[in-house]
């Protein structure tokens, strides 16, 4: 207690001018999930600095798992304490919301991250070079690919164990992102989880050129989009004179009052609001991969190390949609009639675009990337329903989708040939003969993506479409259904390839994973089936979590 208090006092003394600015009140307990994760990340950095190389892997793994589990426990504790419903409130001087959606999404992100850590830590898949186990990451990312330094690092059995703290930083940012209750926090959280991801993308052990290219693309486009987001924030600030969600919402709904008439030119200027809102939306739509801001998705998904892709595809989507929901429901409900038609258009474009583009893909990771775009469209359809059902359905969909995605990418890591993962679809031909179990598992994931009943994908899709239909989006549902049909085509194509094609003689082998990846896949399958067959409990959870604090 004393330590915390002293740190607190240090901080307040440093930041505040006594008497003028009140000391900020920080509810540490309610921010525990984020703090635990970020703290663990810092500790992870220290481990990298001080522990000998050989013990880093296990310490990092242990630290990450414990931290994420503890954070998850903290989320559960908060939820059990009623912070998800009756005691929901704004913490940290209104910067961070502790409410149902935030806790639900944080819980989801933490679980997803926990599983992602397992896939990050998998070291049995890559054929052991020089007798050293290798994970998915380059032993010496700074070394030139194929160069002497890299070979030496490989020989020495180096491992980039920094990925764990980096991952934890990203998770920390993601935890804040959907809970951010002002635009500044939103922006900072965005950068906090984006920057580590850029780094992670560049770290692939195999095909490093692609990996680096993906990182540079992701980075440049991400930075570009966050500049737009920031400009949007600036305009909104200009419009409302504040960046807190509640403040902006109030200005929107009440119009410009109690304001210096001299400033009426900017204050409450609808053009500022509309342009600013649109730019902030754009920044978030970029993160969820909605058309027309989706271009980075396939390239990054393909180039990044597959465990990272899985993590990104699942967790980023959860965090970004959480933030999007909060923005739409807390900040912009007053201008619903402005953004809804536009978002309808985006949703339709995204659903159809993702599905149509995926048809002709030949790389499994790109295919899944386009599929994730189509799914973003489905989620958008629910997100813009502007009803409590809309929120809870999106929450449910996100939870369901993220586990399927993680599982699917985990499966992708297992199918390998001499050049690393064999992601070209032609190499997957006949996989069902070589490894029926793996193919069956992947088929389950694909069917879930396709929204076949009795899988979580169906329950999620039904939930969001139901929400959309109930709020008058009947045609959105029809478009969604049509694009589902188109999407089904390419999911099925993969199944055909796996089961009904003759295996090629020089086809890939299926690596036998350790318990880590096996767990990840098993959890994915279990979640897919449980959420598909008995979704009520989770729907309840999402339903209870469907109220934003304002």
């Amino acid at each position: 207690m004393s330590a915390v208090a002293s740190v607190h006092s240090l901080w307040t003394v440093a930041a505040g001018v006594p008497g003028r600015i009140p000391a900020p009140k920080i509810e540490y307990a309610q921010l525990a999930p984020t703090l635990i994760v970020l703290g663990a990340a810092v500790v992870g950095i220290l481990i990298e600095a001080f522990l000998p190389r050989r013990s880093r892997y296990y310490s990092q793994l242990l630290l990450s798992v414990v931290a994420l589990a503890a954070a998850f426990a903290a989320v559960i504790g908060l939820a059990a304490g009623g912070f998800g419903s009756s005691k929901a409130h704004l913490a940290a001087m209104g910067a961070i919301a502790v409410d149902g959606p935030a806790l639900f999404l944080q819980g989801t992100i933490l679980l997803v991250s926990l599983i992602a850590v397992f896939t990050f830590a998998e070291r049995r898949l890559d054929p052991a070079a020089h007798g050293r186990p290798g994970d998915a990451f380059a032993p010496q990312p700074a070394a030139i690919p194929g160069g002497e330094a890299e070979r030496a690092a490989e020989k020495a059995g180096f491992a980039t164990t920094e990925v764990f703290p980096v991952l934890l930083f990203a998770v920390g940012g993601m935890l804040v992102f959907p809970a951010a209750n002002d635009l500044l926090t939103l922006f900072v959280a965005l950068e906090v989880f984006s920057l580590p991801l850029y780094v992670l993308c560049a770290l692939a052990r195999r095909q490093r050129l692609l990996s680096q290219e993906s990182a540079v693309k992701y980075f440049l486009l991400g930075a570009f989009s966050s500049a737009f987001l920031l400009f949007g924030v600036a305009l909104l600030y200009g419009y409302a004179g504040t960046v807190t969600y509640a403040g902006i919402a109030e200005v929107i709904s009440d119009g410009a009052r109690q304001v210096d008439p001299a400033l009426a030119g900017t204050m409450g200027n609808d053009a500022l609001l509309l342009i600013g809102g649109a730019l902030v939306l754009m920044g978030l739509l970029f993160k969820v991969g909605a058309v027309p801001f989706h271009m980075w998705t396939p390239d990054v998904y393909q180039g990044a190390p597959t465990p990272v892709t899985g993590f990104m595809a699942a967790a980023t989507k959860v965090a970004a949609f959480g933030a999007l929901l909060r923005l739409l429901y807390v900040v912009l409900p007053g201008m619903r009639w402005d953004w809804r038609p536009v978002m309808w258009g985006v949703a339709i474009l995204t659903m159809l675009g993702g599905a149509v583009l995926a048809i002709t893909q030949t790389d499994i990771k790109r295919l899944l990337a386009y599929s994730s775009i189509a799914h973003a469209g489905f989620i958008l359809a629910g997100a813009i329903a502007a009803s409590a059902d809309g929120i809870s359905s999106v929450l449910f969909y996100l939870a369901a989708y993220s586990f399927v995605t993680l599982g699917a990418f985990a499966v992708v890591t297992l199918v390998r040939d001499a050049g690393g993962e064999a992601t070209h679809l032609s190499k997957w031909a006949g996989l069902g003969r070589r490894s029926p179990l793996l193919a069956a598992v992947f088929a389950v994931f694909l069917l879930a993506f396709a929204g076949i009943p009795l899988t979580s994908g169906f329950a999620g899709k039904f939930a969001v479409f139901k929400a959309a239909a109930e709020s008058g989006g009947g045609w959105l549902v029809v478009v969604g259904v049509i694009s589902s049909a188109i999407a089904a085509f390419f999911y099925i194509r993969v199944i055909v390839l796996m089961f009904f094609s003759e295996p090629k003689a020089d086809g890939p082998t299926v690596a036998v994973p350790s318990v880590l990846t096996s767990t990840a896949i098993a959890v994915g399958v279990a979640a897919t089936l449980v959420l598909g067959v008995a979704p009520q409990y989770f729907l309840d959870l999402a339903g209870h979590a469907g109220i934003f604090i304002r």
Partner: protein, 648 residues
């Protein structure tokens, strides 16, 4: 007593089941079982007949209700039998002639490896035919109706390894199906009109509905009759049906099944009586067919086909009679029965000839056979005399009455019909004499037949293995074959006379069919005389052409009419060109369209999606800067759209 009715049907049905499912174990005894059960059915028939005679005319009909068959809503089809005088007549004919032919077949099919199956089919036929005549409603009748069609199909195609037999069987079934369509539409009409289709209620209610509906029903029934009884325009199958073994031709395609149409019209008499237009149609069909069949019969060199043409023609007489209403029903049935005797006899005779002639069917390769097969000659000869209406024999009585009744129609119609019937009688005499002369008289052309049969291999399986021409050794058939022929010959001679004593037959049927004497513009005597005259002309003409002059062993080219008649008056050609060819084109076109249009539409959509996808993909150039441009464009659109929504 009425419980015996089911037994009539059950006996042959059991036989069929036994023989068809019994397997090779029954090969040795199969024909005996089959024949025994046919005879048993006949015996039951006789018992029932005796019982029926024992009751007075008003109470002779028996009913047996077995079970409710298809009860759905107002639709109630039952399995129930009705045995009245009309049915009884048929029962006796079917089981009687049927039994004889079973016995005949024992000898005829002796060398066939699949004899057991043959008897199974025959039993099946008997059962179906009995069901047809015993049913008390149209739906159950329909079962028998199609059942006999099935048996006919199986038996025509009995020698399935011959493509011609298989094709003929198929054709018979198909043409019959067209007729069956008529029957089912008739039943539907009855159901919607009367709410029922049992004979009793329907026929009793004919007075309560419009004539138009009745005419429609009547025409549909006529269509059914045309199919089953090989009447124009659905006659084309009967000639081909001769591909079946000869006993089959005798039983099914001469004596019993083909007469089912006459039964149907007679049974529905009350309905037709109330629909004169339909009756006119019936009469017209009958008249046309009796000429058609007769003309075809004149041109055929295949003995069985000549007889088939004759059958067609004779049934034309019956249909004509049935179309005349109460005046003719009884005579139609009477001619049906006598025809059953003599035509069955003729066919069995033909079979016997073929049996002794290495299964040759071309009459131009017969000749002078009377010496070699005397019994066949005599029985065949008696049948011949009966069919041409030689005074005193069966055919004379029945056919004469029909001609009389036709004249009695009155007016121009009466003259036309009567004239047609007379003309038919002349042609009948001609072609039957021709058959007789070519087969049993003249030189023995079979001794050095020049070439194998030109147009097609003969009907019997031996033909398949036949290579070089070896002259046959004509011989008389065994007892088991000749005895049934003798019995039938006796029937052909005496049945007509017996029936006519005191109008016994008419009186017997009257409670069912009712009867009225027509008022003929010409007296009965004149008609009889005229019949005699045309008979002599026909026989004389035939004798001039085939008795005096030698018959060439290969058919001469013949006149245009002859050639047309050989080809069934081009009706088959018409069918072939219009229905078969046209149908082939239609199906081929549809198959093509199904693939290119219906399937193509869907596949096209899929391909279009793929194309769209391939095109959109190109936006993904791989260049960061192009992505950035698109993002910027997207942002601009987003902003613009948002502004537009507000109308700023």
């Amino acid at each position: 007593m009425e419980n015996l009715i089911a037994l009539l049907v059950a006996a042959p049905l059991v036989g069929a089941a036994l023989l068809l499912c019994g397997g090779t174990r029954l090969d040795r005894a199969g024909h005996w079982i089959g024949s025994l059960l046919a005879v048993a059915s006949f015996a039951v028939g006789v018992v029932l007949f005796a019982g029926m005679l024992g009751r007075d005319a008003g109470h002779r009909a028996l009913h047996q209700h077995l079970f409710s068959w298809i009860p759905v809503g107002g639709f109630r089809a039952d399995v129930a039998f009705q045995l009245d005088q009309l049915s009884m007549t048929f029962v006796l004919l079917i089981t009687g002639v049927g039994s004889l032919i079973h016995i005949y077949s024992i000898g005829y099919m002796e060398h066939d490896a699949r004899r057991r199956r043959f008897f199974g089919y025959l039993n099946l036929f008997l059962a179906a035919m009995l069901l047809l005549v015993l049913a008390d409603n149209y739906v159950l009748l329909y079962v028998g109706w199609e059942g006999v069609g099935l048996a006919s199909y199986l038996l025509i195609g009995f020698w399935q390894h011959k493509p011609s037999a298989a094709t003929a069987a198929k054709k018979a079934f198909l043409v019959n199906r067209v007729g069956d369509m008529g029957l089912s539409i008739a039943i539907m009409l009855m159901f919607t009109t009367f709410g029922t289709f049992a004979f009793g209620p329907v026929l009793a209610a004919t007075g309560q509905t419009s004539e138009g509906k009745l005419t429609a029903i009547g025409l549909m029934l006529l269509l059914a009759a045309c199919g089953k009884s090989a009447q124009v325009p659905l006659q084309s199958w009967l000639g081909d049906a001769m591909e079946g073994p000869t006993p089959v031709s005798a039983l099914i395609h001469a004596a019993t099944m083909v007469t089912a149409g006459v039964y149907l019209i007679t049974r529905s008499g009350a309905l037709f009586n109330a629909a004169p237009d339909a009756q006119t149609a019936v009469v017209a069909v009958g008249a046309v067919t009796l000429l058609f069949g007769a003309i075809v019969g004149c041109a055929k060199d295949d003995i069985k086909k000549a007889l088939a043409g004759s059958t067609m023609s004779q049934i034309g007489y019956m249909v004509l009679a049935a179309g005349l209403g109460p005046v003719g029903y009884a005579f139609a049935i009477m001619h049906l029965v006598t025809h059953g005797f003599f035509k069955a006899g003729l066919f069995l005779g033909a079979g016997s000839v073929m049996h002794g002639m290495n299964d040759e069917v071309d009459m131009r390769r017969y000749g002078g056979l009377r010496k070699y097969m005397p019994v066949t000659f005599v029985t065949f000869g008696l049948g011949y005399l009966a069919i041409i209406g030689f005074p005193g024999l069966s055919g004379f009585f029945s056919k004469d009455k029909i001609i009389e009744a036709a004249f009695a129609r009155g007016g121009t119609e009466g003259w036309i019909l009567g004239g047609t019937a007379l003309l038919g009688a002349a042609i009948t005499a001609f072609y039957m004499t021709r058959v007789m002369l070519m087969t049993f008289f003249g030189e023995e052309r079979w001794r050095n037949a020049p070439t194998p049969s030109p147009d097609r291999p003969s009907a019997e399986p031996a033909a398949e293995t036949r290579g070089e021409y070896a002259p046959p050794h004509p011989h008389e058939s065994p007892k088991v074959m000749t005895v049934p022929m003798i019995v039938l010959a006796v029937g052909s001679v005496f049945a007509g006379g017996l029936f006519s004593i005191g109008d016994a037959f008419v009186g017997w049927l009257e409670p069912v069919t009712s009867f009225s004497h027509g008022h003929s513009p010409v007296s009965a005597g004149v008609v009889t005389a005229a019949t005699m005259v045309v008979l002599v002309i026909g026989v004389g003409l035939a004798w001039l052409m085939y008795g005096r002059r030698p018959v060439p062993a290969t058919a001469p080219r013949g006149s245009l009419l002859t050639r047309a008649a050989r080809r069934d008056l081009l009706q088959d050609d018409f069918n072939h060109v219009v229905l078969v060819r046209g149908g082939e084109h239609l199906t081929r076109t549809l198959v093509y369209l199904d693939h290119s249009l219906v399937d193509g539409a869907v596949n096209g959509t899929a391909a279009a999606m793929g194309g769209l996808s391939g095109r959109l993909r190109r936006l993904q150039t791989g260049f960061v800067r192009s992505y950035a441009v698109q993002m910027l464009g997207g942002a601009a659109v987003l902003v613009a759209a948002t502004l537009l929504m507000r109308g700023v």
